[in-house]
């Protein structure tokens, strides 16, 4: 952490743990749309609260929001089908409660 402070562009650093913070990431996953597997993909998507954001004859794009573990689980579940593409944002986190990294944030 001390090493990061040496970078001139770094304003503030705080270690966020599972206990004191909230985090999630976003994933877009494109799957092959096959009449045989369509149903199964949909029920899995429903269980994972994934939203269908694009639907075409050959492909389905799902959007997932949640922790990284959930993304991994979903990807491994989809392993039975044909995954065409995956795009993940990585984790974004924020502290719980009213405490902030930097006061007087001028935007």
């Amino acid at each position: 952490m001390n090493q990061l402070y040496k970078l001139p562009d770094v304003c503030s650093i705080k270690e966020l743990t599972n206990e004191n913070s909230l985090s999630c990431e976003l994933m877009l996953i494109k799957l092959k749309n096959d009449p045989d597997t369509r149903e199964e993909i949909h029920s899995a998507a429903e269980a994972f609260k994934a939203e269908t954001i694009d639907y075409s004859k050959d492909s389905i794009v799902l959007r997932l929001i949640g922790n990284s573990r959930k993304m991994d689980d979903f990807i491994s579940l989809m392993g039975d089908f044909t995954i065409l593409e995956i795009c993940r944002t990585g984790t974004a986190s924020i502290e719980k409660g009213s405490s902030v990294l930097r006061k007087n944030l001028n935007l």
Partner: protein, 557 residues
């Protein structure tokens, strides 16, 4: 006033107190060189033979003056040639600003002729770097770069300036030179803690490094040593901070440190370390390093505390200011028993000194010592000669030793010696080896052209001595690619470049040659022949501890 980017760049350098720059022109920096031409009465540009030499010269200039060294190069190969010089400065925390040209912004990213992403390349070896996208940002970027380069723990900063930014015009308003960020002492509570530990110390040892020189705190350190009666040792980077003949000074510590210094540190119960970073060349085996000692660590860079060794008390802050606060809290005391032990180590060290007749490395350095003035800067390259120099040179004044300690850059010395001569305004000395010298000997052309008085002493053993030493000790004497077998005639080389030089084989000849060299107007090369099986001793084997120290060695044929 409305000025071009190139003029703004040069004027801002002048405004920041920069009077000497080192560099090499080229296509994408031509506008800046045009401006240097216009401003040549205000700023002196030294043209080197190679950009690497220019970077090392800026480094040598910075080390000897404490000012920010400035180097200028063109884009592409000019910029990449700076890389080793920038990395050398980075590892030794030397303040430097490197300015590179680049292709116009409209061509960036198209693999244009001599285009390179130099901010990308130098990201991990600079304190910070900038790509200046518009001329309006140029002056303030340079000012910011100077602040960063010299503040806190100093380091190199690179500024990449595309050609169209050099051509574009904008308003320029001169400003006064930027100040470095206000140094801060460590927290009071920490200083009190440290004072308590020091006051209860029975065998204290002071260990300082380059940070002491940067903080300009040798005086405070000496007051500390006097007050608590502690012996003093240093790292390679700390050399020259205090005179070698200071009664409490035991010299360099570490892999090739002096025996008494290393032994005293090993036997201390409290080590007060000032501006050091406990490099592996210093600690050897970290688990066994100074096991019985409590380490107090004062450094301006908080990330150094507890990085490689654990300190019982880590103080983040300016060394000078922290010592000033610490000193009044300490009890004055005499530690005769401990000092007697230290003296015994010194006595023992006498037995290990190399007093053989003939032109031994130690005798060569001792002979040189007679010629060194108060203000003479000595630069070295890297290898055995560097260690012999560190062990035996008689330093008199702070900032008069320049050596690549962190990166260990062979080829550093010649550029640095040229920069040091400009920094001190006096004759400088380069001690080098035939291996290291071979890497950047082209800079002799620079020294000749500007008539820079540099005394070059090549400790010539025909082999890569340090590599050979390791191969002898740890690689079954497999001298793989460490025997040079070159036929270089160094005096003839000197003459071909327009300088003069000679070969010496005895201490008497060396003495005569040095007399000539120190009266020579320009550079002078002394090719000093020594045996290929000379060793740097003592030696702590890599990863070893004081129990494994090698003090004497018979080389069997």
């Amino acid at each position: 006033m409305l000025l071009s980017g190139a003029d703004i760049l040069v004027k801002t350098l002048i405004e920041q107190g920069c009077d000497t720059v080192f560099g090499y022109p080229g296509g994408q920096i031509l506008n800046v060189y045009d401006s240097l031409y216009t401003h040549q009465s205000e700023i002196n540009h030294i043209l080197t033979a190679h950009e690497q030499g220019a970077a090392h010269a800026a480094d040598g200039y910075a080390r000897t003056t404490g000012k920010v060294g400035v180097v200028i190069s063109t884009s592409g190969p000019g910029a990449t040639n700076l890389v080793t010089g920038i990395a050398t400065a980075y590892l030794d925390s030397i303040p430097m600003v490197a300015v590179c040209g680049n292709v116009p912004t409209t061509q960036i990213g198209s693999d244009s002729f001599q285009e390179i992403d130099i901010t990308g390349v130098t990201l991990p070896i600079t304190k910070h770097n900038y790509f200046v996208g518009k001329v309006e940002d140029l002056a303030d970027t340079i000012r910011e770069a100077f602040v960063l380069a010299k503040s806190g723990r100093p380091g190199p900063v690179l500024i990449d300036v595309p050609k169209d930014v050099q051509i574009a015009k904008c308003e320029y308003e001169p400003k006064s030179p930027v100040e470095k960020e206000e140094p801060q002492p460590a927290k009071n509570t920490r200083i009190e803690e440290a004072a308590e530990i020091i006051n209860s110390a029975i065998r204290p040892f002071i260990y300082f490094g380059g940070g002491l020189i940067t903080a300009d705190a040798p005086e405070e350190m000496l007051s500390l040593a006097e007050k608590i009666d502690a012996p003093i040792g240093c790292s390679l980077m700390g050399l020259s901070a205090i005179p070698t003949n200071h009664p409490g000074f035991l010299g360099m510590q570490g892999m090739h440190g002096r025996f008494a210094s290393s032994m005293s540190m090993h036997n201390a119960d409290v080590i007060i370390s000032l501006g050091v970073r406990f490099n592996d060349r210093v600690t050897g085996n970290r688990q066994k390093f100074a096991k019985g000692a409590k380490i107090i660590h004062i450094d301006v860079d908080g990330s150094e505390l507890n990085k490689t060794v654990n300190a019982v008390c880590g103080l983040r802050g300016d060394v000078k200011l922290t010592l000033q606060k610490l000193l009044p809290m300490l009890d004055e005391s005499k530690k005769s028993e401990w000092m007697a032990k230290v003296d015994a180590f010194r006595q023992e060290e006498e037995n290990y000194l190399d007093n053989r007749d003939g032109l031994t490395p130690r005798r060569a350095i001792l002979t040189l010592n007679k010629y060194l003035g108060e203000n003479t800067a000595v630069c070295t390259d890297v290898g055995q000669h560097q260690m012999w120099s560190a062990q035996n040179l008689n330093f008199k004044t702070s900032r008069r030793f320049a050596s690549s300690g962190g990166l260990g850059t062979m080829g550093y010395g010649f550029g640095a010696a040229i920069g040091a001569a400009y920094g001190t305004g006096e004759r400088s000395v380069l001690i080098t080896g035939d291996g290291s010298f071979g890497m950047n000997l082209n800079e002799l052309a620079t020294a000749v052209r500007y008539n820079v008085p540099v005394v070059v002493i090549i400790i010539n053993n025909g082999v890569l001595g340090m590599v050979r030493q390791w191969q002898t000790l740890f690689y079954d004497k497999h001298y793989s690619n460490s025997v040079l077998e070159r036929k270089t005639d160094f005096p003839a080389f000197a003459k071909a470049f327009g300088a003069d030089g000679e070969t010496v084989t005895t201490p008497e000849e060396l003495d005569e040659a040095l007399k000539k060299a120190f009266n020579c107007e320009g550079p002078y090369i002394i090719d000093c022949k020594i045996d290929k099986d000379e060793f740097v001793l003592p030696m702590l084997p890599p990863g070893g501890s004081m129990d494994d120290i090698i003090t004497k060695l018979e080389v069997q044929e």
